[in-house]
């Protein structure tokens, strides 16, 4: 059998230096570092993310489909998932609105105490979540500073789903502010002046010019706040009251299952939350790509 000469060993082409042709798909570069850093990246991602998650899914798989569906379709589990995901969504949307306003004020205006306000935004990042939870519970309990007046109006916050949302807003706020802030700082005030010269009202300028420019960052920030809130445990369990079917969150249910030694059931709930988070990130990625369609093509 005769073989055709491959175009690769065509004698007319001078051999390229070895450091330029190690990988077929790799763009040749004289700057070293790809191999080493890529190796570390794969190692680290596996160690920190893939192996634990894989372990969880493997454990879930020991249940079999029927047991899996039974484990996650009990009313108590469904109620907990609904509260964790629904509450996180509501909290993220509220954070999107108020976080943007805070970012706007911090970027656009100079006022005494601005640096302090800016630092305060990071408190929810830094504070141990349990401390935050206890503080919020004290504040919103029926005899608390805020809880007492609200109670007179007939609004109960502590030990209700409302309390869960309050705690989730607290932990999610910095994500929105810190992602929107730099984008807003880069937004040239000239484009607002341009809108003003074109006789746009202030509201039209915000809706048609500023918000669309912020949208990609806002989506990212909201997604981060949401992702954080779905899995939030520490700050919620104190204020939630943890009434099954009412104010019990999914992460708490996982802990309860673990304490009952139902490890597989616990991982089943975890798997549902993981799949949900994954779908959510996928959808947000699509949304982001769409909202950035005008950038350098």
């Amino acid at each position: 059998m005769t073989s055709l000469p491959s175009p690769l060993d065509s004698p007319t082409l001078p051999p390229s230096p070895t450091y330029l042709r190690r990988w077929g798909w790799k763009r040749p570069s004289v700057l070293p570092g790809f191999g080493l850093t890529m190796g570390f990246t794969l190692f680290w991602l596996s160690l920190i993310v893939l192996i634990p998650l894989g372990g969880m899914i493997l454990k879930t798989a020991t249940l079999g489909w029927d047991a899996f569906f039974n484990a996650i379709s009990t009313p108590r589990v469904l109620a907990a998932l609904r509260l964790s995901i629904g509450g996180a969504l509501i909290a993220a949307i509220i954070n999107a609105v108020f976080g943007s306003i805070i970012a706007w004020v911090l970027v656009r205006y100079r006022f005494p105490g601005r640096r302090l306000a800016d630092a305060l935004v990071d408190i929810p990042f830094a504070l141990p979540t349990a401390v935050a939870g206890i503080a919020l519970t004290t504040l919103f309990a029926q005899n608390g500073w805020l809880g007492a007046p609200l109670d007179k109006l007939g609004i109960q916050v502590a030990y209700t789903p409302l309390g869960v949302i309050v705690a989730l807003i607290f932990v999610g706020l910095p994500f929105v502010v810190r992602t929107v802030q730099p984008v807003l700082a880069d937004l040239d005030p000239e484009i607002e002046e341009a809108a003003l010269c074109l006789r746009a009202s202030r509201w039209q300028t915000i809706r048609r010019v500023i918000l669309p420019s912020l949208f990609p960052a806002l989506v990212t920030g909201t997604a981060l706040a949401f992702a954080r809130a779905v899995g939030e445990y520490g700050s919620v369990i104190f204020i939630a009251g943890n009434l099954p079917m009412v104010s019990e969150i999914a992460p708490l249910l996982i802990v309860i299952k673990l304490e009952e030694f139902s490890y597989a059931e616990a991982t089943a709930i975890g798997t549902v939350m993981l799949s949900f988070a994954f779908l959510m990130l996928l959808a947000l990625n699509g949304l982001q790509r769409w909202s950035r369609r005008y950038e350098e093509a």
Binding site: A195, L196, L198, Y294
Partner: protein, 351 residues
């Protein structure tokens, strides 16, 4: 629309950007505001647009005092130095913006908006870019889109901030010619700010020269070049040589040698006797080969329509001389040759 500016003062904190500016802009005129950076030219333009409010002074559009009016109520189109296009909108939507944000009552129907925008894009010759986004355009194209967007609201006055500042030299010349044609066609009162004297002198009907928050001179380009009002304008417009000089009995003397009778010297102000500086344009200095001359040729540049010669006088002063170049390059002075100098015109400013 005639614009009348009087006694305009504007400060930012402790810095005073404009110290009382008076200015008349005639209807249909193409006017340049020229000055070095920090001269207050952009501040003046932004005050005209209503993007800043003056500390004192009045601005009238026609007979109407527009002092407290926001830009939207002044009938001005403003083109920003960096275009300030809306990044998330296509070229079409950028231009349509000014029409779409009108209150429902005065907003044209969609079909008319389409027609108007397409007409404008035609006018600025970018109709083939309708669906692109600003990030996909070159600088010159962005400038044209920004102009179309400003024109969409049918302003009475067009204001442009450094319209060619961010473009490369070739595109700049091209757009300059194009803007002049466009102005001729539309006949709209147009004011632009620039720090590039060539641009101002080439394009404008009249030029306002500004320095440190004051108007130094207003006039037609040739007037400014040939009869600068003061030392600032002389230095800022075109190249100049500065000679130590003195004034005796109405005659200017340089190094105690009186200047040729035929020279046209402007004496700024009616001074009789004084020491001062004589400003002379390079083309108003003449050279003649002279072995006993006062100066030595140090450098000769042969590129272009002018011979550019640098000479050093015996007291160590460097002067630039420009001589029109003939079809051949025979009578070219060589470095090292001694020459005598003759002043054919200039401005004497007492110290």
């Amino acid at each position: 629309m005639d614009i009348t500016v009087s006694g305009l003062i504007k400060g930012f904190g402790s810095f005073t950007a404009l110290h009382g500016v008076d200015l008349d802009i005639h209807n249909g005129e193409l006017m340049a505001i020229l000055g070095p950076s920090g001269s207050g030219k952009t501040t003046l333009l932004r005050l005209l647009a209503g993007l800043e409010q003056p500390d004192a002074g009045t601005i009238r559009f026609g007979a109407k005092d527009v002092g407290g009016n926001l830009p939207g109520d002044r009938d001005v189109g403003f083109v920003f130095q960096h275009y300030a296009l809306f990044r998330h909108m296509s070229v079409f939507e950028n231009v349509a913006f000014g029409l779409r944000v009108r209150p429902r009552k005065t907003r044209p129907p969609e079909a008319e908006i389409r027609k108007r925008v397409n007409d404008l894009l035609n006018l600025v010759q970018v109709d083939w870019l309708t669906n692109r986004y600003p990030s996909q355009l070159s600088g010159g194209q962005r400038q044209r889109v920004a102009l179309a967007r400003a024109l969409a609201i049918e302003p009475q006055v067009l204001l442009l901030d450094e319209p060619f500042g961010a473009l490369d030299a070739k595109v700049r010349r091209e757009l300059r010619r194009w803007l002049r044609d466009l102005h001729r066609r539309l006949g709209m009162t147009t004011v632009f700010v620039t720090h590039d004297q060539e641009e101002a002198l080439d394009l404008a009907d009249r030029v306002v020269v500004m320095g440190q928050g004051r108007v130094e001179q207003i006039g037609a380009p040739q007037e400014l070049y040939d009869a600068p009002a003061n030392a600032f304008v002389y230095r800022f417009l075109g190249e100049t040589n500065e000679l130590q000089a003195s004034l005796h009995a109405g005659r200017v003397r340089v190094q105690n040698a009186p200047i040729a009778e035929a020279a046209r010297i402007d004496l700024s102000g009616a001074i009789k006797e004084a020491d001062g500086t004589l400003f002379v344009r390079p083309h108003l200095l003449a050279l003649t080969p002279d072995p006993t001359g006062v100066a030595t040729v140090t450098h000769v540049s042969l590129v272009g329509a002018m011979l550019r010669v640098e000479v050093e006088t015996h007291d160590g002063q460097n002067l630039h001389v420009e001589i029109p170049r003939g079809p051949s390059i025979d009578l070219v002075p060589r470095p090292g040759e001694r020459v005598s100098l003759m002043v054919r015109g200039g401005l004497f400013v007492a110290a």
